[in-house]
C-alpha cells in the first residue's frame, strides 16, 4: 500500500470512530490535530534512517480503530477465560488494562499515601471528576516533533484510556505501582492503545513495573505511548517487560523529561511479539540529571526486535549510562540504535554506552549502532558496540568440563544478558524475569535449576 493510501485509510478510520472516542482521555481537538499531523507526515517507513530495522508491515494490515470502539462504547471488558497474568508483586498496586481499557476486576489497589493512580475511563465517578483537572489531556507526543515519535500521534488520536500516575514528594519510601496491559483482540477486530502518563513531583520516588502481555496467541496490534515527567531530585525506577504474543505487532513510544538532579532508571526487556519496536526518547533537561537505560531483547524464529533510543542532553553535568544486550536466534532480527545528542549548553555531560549483540543463529541478523552527536567540547563520552557470535574459548571451557554443547550455549546466552538482568533491584521481580527469560530460550529445563 502506498503512503498516501495508508494516510487516507487512517483518516477514514478515524472519521468513522471519532465520535465514540472518549474526550476525557484526549480532547476531540487534540485527537483531530494528532490525526492530521500523522496523516500529513505519513506513517513511518523503513526508508527512514531510524526505522530501517523495524518490521512495519503490520501497519499496512492493521485496523487502526481501537477494540473498545469496535465494542459497544460502555460494554464491560471481556476478560478471556484462563487468562494467566503474571504473579503480583508484594507491595505493588496493580492496574490492569485489557485492550487498552481499564479492567477493575483484574486490578488490586493498595492505598498509597503519596501518589494518585487513576485511569481516565470507568474510574469511580468521583476520582476523575473530582480532580477536575485536565492533566490527562496533556499531549504525550514529543516536544520537538521528533520524527521517530510519530507513532505516539497514532496513540493520541485513538487512545481509549490513560493510566495517570502522579507522585507527590515528602515521603522517603518509594511508591510502587504495577501496570499490566493485556492484548486480547486480534488485529482484524481492532487495535489496542496502552497509554501511560507519569509525573513525579520534586524529590518524590516511584517504582513502576509495566508489563505487556497477550492472552492466547492472537495476532494483536498494540501501539503504546508513555510519557514520563521527572521533577527536580525525583527518582523513577521503571521496568518495562514486553512479552506480547508471538504473532503480535507491538509498537511503542516513550518520551521522558528529567529536571535537575532527577534520576531515571529505565530497564526494558523485550522478548515478545512478531514485530516489536520501541522508541525511547529522553531529554536531560536539568543539570545533574541521571539516566540509566538498560535494555535486553531476545529474538527467535521470525521475530523482529527493534529499539531506537534517543537521549538528548540539553543541560550541563547530566549523566547517561546505556546498556543493551540483544540475542538473535533462528531467523530473527534484533536491532538497537542508541543515539546520544549533546547540545552546546550541556557542558560536563558524561555518557557511556555499551551495546552488544549476540548472533545465535545462522540466518539471524543483529545490528547495534551507537550514534553520537556532540556540540560541545566539555564532555566525557565512551561508547562500545560489538556484535558477534558466542566466544569460542568460553564455549570450549564449558565443554572441557563435560557440559554438552547445547547446555554450554544456553548458559553463555544467559550470561550475555547478565549485565542487564543484574540491574533488576527487586529480587522478586528479578526471579520472575529470570524464569521468563529461561522459558524464552529454547529448552530451558537445565537453566531453570540455575535459578
Amino acid at each position: 500500500m502506498t503512503q498516501s493510501a495508508l494516510s487516507k485509510r487512517l483518516l477514514d478510520e478515524y472519521a468513522a470512530v471519532s465520535d465514540s472516542l472518549p474526550t476525557d482521555v484526549v480532547s476531540a481537538e487534540r485527537r483531530q490535530e494528532a490525526i492530521q499531523a500523522l496523516a500529513a507526515r505519513g506513517l513511518p517507513t523503513t526508508r527512514e534512517e531510524n526505522w530501517r530495522y523495524t518490521n512495519l508491515r503490520p501497519l499496512e494490515r492493521a485496523r487502526f480503530a481501537p477494540v473498545a470502539a469496535a465494542a459497544a462504547a460502555a460494554a464491560p471488558t471481556v476478560i478471556p477465560a484462563g487468562l494467566d497474568l503474571p504473579s503480583t508483586l508484594t507491595g505493588f498496586a496493580r492496574f490492569t488494562f485489557v485492550d487498552g481499557t481499564f479492567a477493575p476486576e483484574l486490578s488490586s489497589e493498595h492505598a498509597q499515601a503519596g501518589s494518585t493512580v487513576r485511569n481516565l475511563r470507568r474510574a469511580p465517578e468521583s476520582s476523575a471528576r473530582r480532580q477536575g483537572s485536565t492533566a490527562g489531556t496533556r499531549p504525550l507526543t514529543a516536544p520537538s516533533g521528533c520524527p521517530e515519535a510519530s507513532l505516539a500521534l497514532l496513540n493520541e488520536a485513538f487512545a481509549t484510556d490513560t493510566a495517570l500516575i502522579s507522585v507527590r514528594g515528602g515521603t522517603d519510601a518509594p511508591q510502587r505501582v504495577e501496570l499490566v496491559f493485556v492484548a486480547v483482540a486480534g488485529a482484524d477486530v481492532g487495535a489496542s492503545y496502552p497509554r501511560i502518563q507519569v509525573a513525579l513531583d520534586p524529590d518524590s520516588r516511584l517504582i513502576l513495573v509495566e508489563r505487556h502481555v497477550s492472552a492466547g496467541s492472537g495476532a494483536s496490534f498494540v501501539n503504546s505511548s508513555v510519557s514520563v515527567d521527572i521533577g527536580r531530585g525525583a527518582h523513577l525506577t521503571h521496568y518495562r517487560l514486553q512479552r506480547a504474543g508471538a504473532r503480535s505487532a507491538w509498537l511503542d513510544t516513550l518520551t521522558a523529561v528529567l529536571a535537575a538532579d532527577g534520576r531515571y532508571s529505565l530497564l526494558t526487556i523485550n522478548t515478545g511479539g512478531l514485530s516489536a519496536r520501541s522508541t525511547t526518547q529522553v531529554q536531560m533537561a536539568g543539570p545533574g540529571a541521571e539516566l540509566i537505560l538498560s535494555a535486553a531483547a531476545l529474538g527467535d524464529r521470525q521475530q523482529t526486535q527493534d529499539h531506537f533510543a534517543l537521549v538528548e542532553h540539553i543541560a550541563p553535568r547530566a549523566r547517561t549510562d546505556q546498556t543493551f544486550r540483544g540475542i538473535a536466534s533462528g531467523r530473527a532480527r534484533v536491532a538497537f540504535n542508541g543515539k546520544i545528542t549533546v547540545r552546546e549548553a550541556a557542558a560536563g555531560t558524561d555518557s557511556r554506552q555499551s551495546l552488544r549483540g549476540l548472533l545465535a543463529g545462522p540466518a539471524a541478523e543483529i545490528d547495534v549502532r551507537p550514534q553520537l552527536e556532540i556540540y560541545t567540547d566539555d564532555v566525557r563520552c565512551s561508547h562500545g558496540a560489538t556484535a558477534g557470535k558466542l566466544d569460542d574459548s568460553m564455549l570450549f571451557y564449558l565443554l572441557s568440563r563435560g557440559l554438552s554443547p547445547e547446555v554450554a550455549q544456553r548458559l553463555l546466552k544467559w550470561a550475555f544478558l547478565e549485565d542487564v538482568v543484574s540491574k533488576i533491584e527487586l529480587p522478586e521481580l528479578r526471579r520472575q524475569i529470570e524464569h521468563d527469560l529461561a522459558g524464552q530460550m529454547a529448552d530451558a529445563a537445565s537453566l531453570k535449576e540455575l535459578l
Partner: protein, 249 residues
C-alpha cells in the same frame, strides 16, 4: 592410561607437533617441560579436544580407547581434565553452577544419579578450604575478576571436585607466588593415586620441588627431545634449554 604415538598436529597450516610419542601409565606423574613455543599447550589442548588443531598423523589412546574420536565433553566425562594455562573469564556463569553441572554431566555419563545438593556443597567447601579460597568466590562468575593466582587455584578446585583419571595441568604454576604455589601443589598432591595419572606442563622446575614427578620429558620443536627422572629438571634449570635444543638440533 594414556598412549600418544607419533602425533603430528598442524595449526594454521604449520606443523607444531612433529611426531610426538609419550606413554603415561596409571598412577604416575609426568612433567612435560620445554621452551616457549615448543608445543606444550598445543599438546594439552589437543588432548582435551580443542577445535582448531589439525591432526595429520598419529594416535592417542586413553584407557584403550581412541581419544581423538571423542568430543571434548565426552573426554571430560570419561575423566580427562585440562587445567588451562589461561583460564577464561565467563561473567554471568556462576562458578558453583558450573561445578555442579560438570559433576552431574560426568555422573550421568556413568549412569549415576545427580549429586545431592547438600553433600555437593559440603564437598566443595572442604576443597575450597584446602585451596584457601574465599567462599564468596563460589557465587561469582567463572573466574570473573579473579587474579591470575585465583584463576589457577580455581582450576585446581575444579579438578579436586571432578576427580579426573587423567589431569593435564598447563603451566598451573606460572604467575603464582611461592605461597600460592605451595597451596596449589598441596592440592594436586592430594589427588595422587594409583588409579590416576597427571601431566604437569611447566616451563620451570620450581613446581617439581613440590609435586615430585616420576618422569620428566623435554619437548623441543614438537617432539620429546629427552626423557629422564626428576634430576633432568634440575639439570635443565642449571644448564638452560639451550642445552637440549642444541642437542636436538
Amino acid at each position: 592410561m594414556l598412549k600418544i604415538d607419533n602425533l603430528h598436529v598442524k595449526v594454521d597450516g604449520k606443523e607444531i607437533l612433529q611426531g610426538l610419542t609419550l606413554e603415561i601409565p596409571s598412577g604416575e606423574v609426568h612433567a612435560v617441560m620445554g621452551p616457549n613455543g615448543s608445543g606444550k599447550s598445543t599438546l594439552a589442548n589437543v588432548l582435551a579436544g580443542r577445535p582448531g588443531y589439525e591432526i595429520t598423523a598419529g594416535s592417542v589412546t586413553f584407557q584403550g580407547r581412541d581419544l581423538l574420536a571423542l568430543a571434548p565433553e565426552e573426554r571430560a566425562r570419561e575423566g580427562v581434565f585440562l587445567g588451562f594455562q589461561y583460564p577464561v573469564e565467563i561473567p554471568g556463569v556462576n562458578n558453583v553452577y558450573l561445578l555442579k553441572a560438570a559433576v552431574n554431566a560426568a555422573r550421568k555419563h556413568r549412569g549415576l544419579e545427580e549429586v545431592d545438593a547438600f553433600e555437593f556443597l559440603t564437598l566443595v567447601r572442604e576443597k575450597m578450604r584446602l585451596m584457601r579460597m574465599e567462599e564468596s568466590m563460589l557465587s561469582r562468575g567463572v573466574n570473573e575478576g579473579f587474579s591470575g593466582g585465583e584463576k589457577k587455584r580455581n582450576e585446581i578446585l575444579q579438578m579436586l571436585v571432578l576427580e579426573p583419571r587423567l589431569a593435564i595441568l598447563d603451566e598451573t604454576d606460572s604467575g603464582l607466588d611461592i605461597d600460592a604455589l605451595k597451596i596449589v601443589a598441596n592440592g594436586v598432591n592430594t589427588l595422587r593415586s594409583p588409579a590416576r595419572s597427571l601431566v604437569l606442563v611447566t616451563h620451570y622446575q620450581r613446581l617439581l620441588d613440590y609435586i615430585v614427578p616420576d618422569h620428566v620429558h623435554v619437548l623441543v620443536k614438537g617432539r620429546i627431545a629427552r626423557s629422564g627422572d626428576k634430576s633432568l629438571a634440575l639439570e635443565l634449570e642449571r644448564r638452560g634449554y639451550d642445552w637440549v635444543t642444541g642437542e636436538a638440533a
